[in-house]
Symmetry: C2
Subunit: 309 residues, 2 copies
Amino acid sequence: MNESEVINRLKRIATDPAARGLADDAAVLDGLVITHDTIAEGVHFLPTDPPASVGWKLVAVNLSDLAAKGAAPRAALLSLCIGDEDWDEAFLGGIEAACESYGLNLIGGDTIALPEGAPRVLGLTAIGKAGERVPSRSGGRAGDILWVVGTLGDGAAGLNLLQEDAEATGPLIDQYRRPVPLLAAGQVLARKANATMDISDGLLIDLQRLAEASGCAAEVDLDALPLSRAFIAERGQDRRARLFAATGGDDYALLAALPEGFDPLGLPLPSDSTIAAVGRLTEGSGITLRDAAGPVGLPERMGYEHRRD
Amino acid sequence: MNESEVINRLKRIATDPAARGLADDAAVLDGLVITHDTIAEGVHFLPTDPPASVGWKLVAVNLSDLAAKGAAPRAALLSLCIGDEDWDEAFLGGIEAACESYGLNLIGGDTIALPEGAPRVLGLTAIGKAGERVPSRSGGRAGDILWVVGTLGDGAAGLNLLQEDAEATGPLIDQYRRPVPLLAAGQVLARKANATMDISDGLLIDLQRLAEASGCAAEVDLDALPLSRAFIAERGQDRRARLFAATGGDDYALLAALPEGFDPLGLPLPSDSTIAAVGRLTEGSGITLRDAAGPVGLPERMGYEHRRD
């Protein structure tokens, strides 16, 4: 089974309404929003990544799911594998820093040893307090405008730099290693959005999921993608760079479908928020891309997917 | 850091009351009892174990933590690594069977691929509805009688048989592969017990944790340990066999400290429950063992511990 087939199998088991059909960033149970992300060495982080940043990122990627649902951080359970003393100590320092930064209380988990030489596997269950509304991925409607909060491509560009030089530093690498969950923005968007999700595997693959869950098609204007100065300095902003940013993954930006005519610039978003209208939902199915020069074909790779075979 | 040092480090982070100082089987948050267990191939299960039984066991060990706190199964999040198609399908069949058997609803989780050749690592967060009381490990008092529900040593004896012959079958192997969480018994005990926990790493090491959390010493009568007929047939019931049963791990029996004079045989336990008084809490600290012949020295190995160095 590839990832899609496994998820279809899981969906047949997960019939409780709290599961939201496993088609959302998180489950919603008794006023709590609950998510779990697992990361593996060599897949989600590099053996050379500073362990404190791995701890930070594990917390941040889970909080990004809570952010996408407008939830406030409440508690977490950590699945920890122990091995190298210094690595573990620094990793826990990163966990602690992120928990403190975002008011997340560690309340439990499990500590295990893996067989000698096995890649590290680390998991976190994050629990948030639901706001008045918890938008799903499936509430988008034809005509909705697609907004992105945050910038795209930085994390993937940072990873690329590290693959060329494990000692590289700079803002793109910071974004790859220490993403910032957009909790305040998510809480504001949740009050008004028809559909929301976080962009973790890449805009196109994640938008495909939102559009499919909403029973819509989606159009994306590549020229409208929000790119950071650091990204543009590294990779430019031509069509190739924009396709990279649209499919790179590791963004932890937020995607929201808001009713046409609604201006999110009037919302009380944090003052440093980057927000851009990148397209719209339409009748039908599938994703179409364009830029100033006209239609753009879909890339073969829409984003990060585990085991596509 | 060994496991104890890591847990001490985690305790310094986990100051929220819901964490119960990380000294309990589960966290208690907003009327929910929440636990997470992770299992790894080559550590918690054998590569040769039938994958359906691995799925069953992952659910069962988490439910055993809920049972120990008297909670009713409510929902679960699964951390799944995917790889071999047939293995994954059978594993999910085991997950589904256990979830259905105990009314646990799968509501979320994560699906990842591990690097080629990495041992499988699988996690589950289980959420239960708290009963009127959620006894901790720390409420035991000097004078309390220590009761065990279930039998001891079967799982470890089953594992030993499988290590000698991977094709072995029988009730001890069933107990190792498909433990039964004692949910109904746990709910009954929770109403009256001063302290409870599940016995997953071995009676002695787990009792040491309960006694320490309760600020007590504990005496155990090895002759009183509840042993199954299958265990006795395989390993006998002499002192050596009883020490094996007291330290084996993988029991998923329940340990409860009940006030002296309280007779749990009057409780509405399930009719097939095995319950035995195995000792008592006393003033002081540490564990002492005895049998009909007199005091028995503590074994070097008190139970299963990750990374003791």
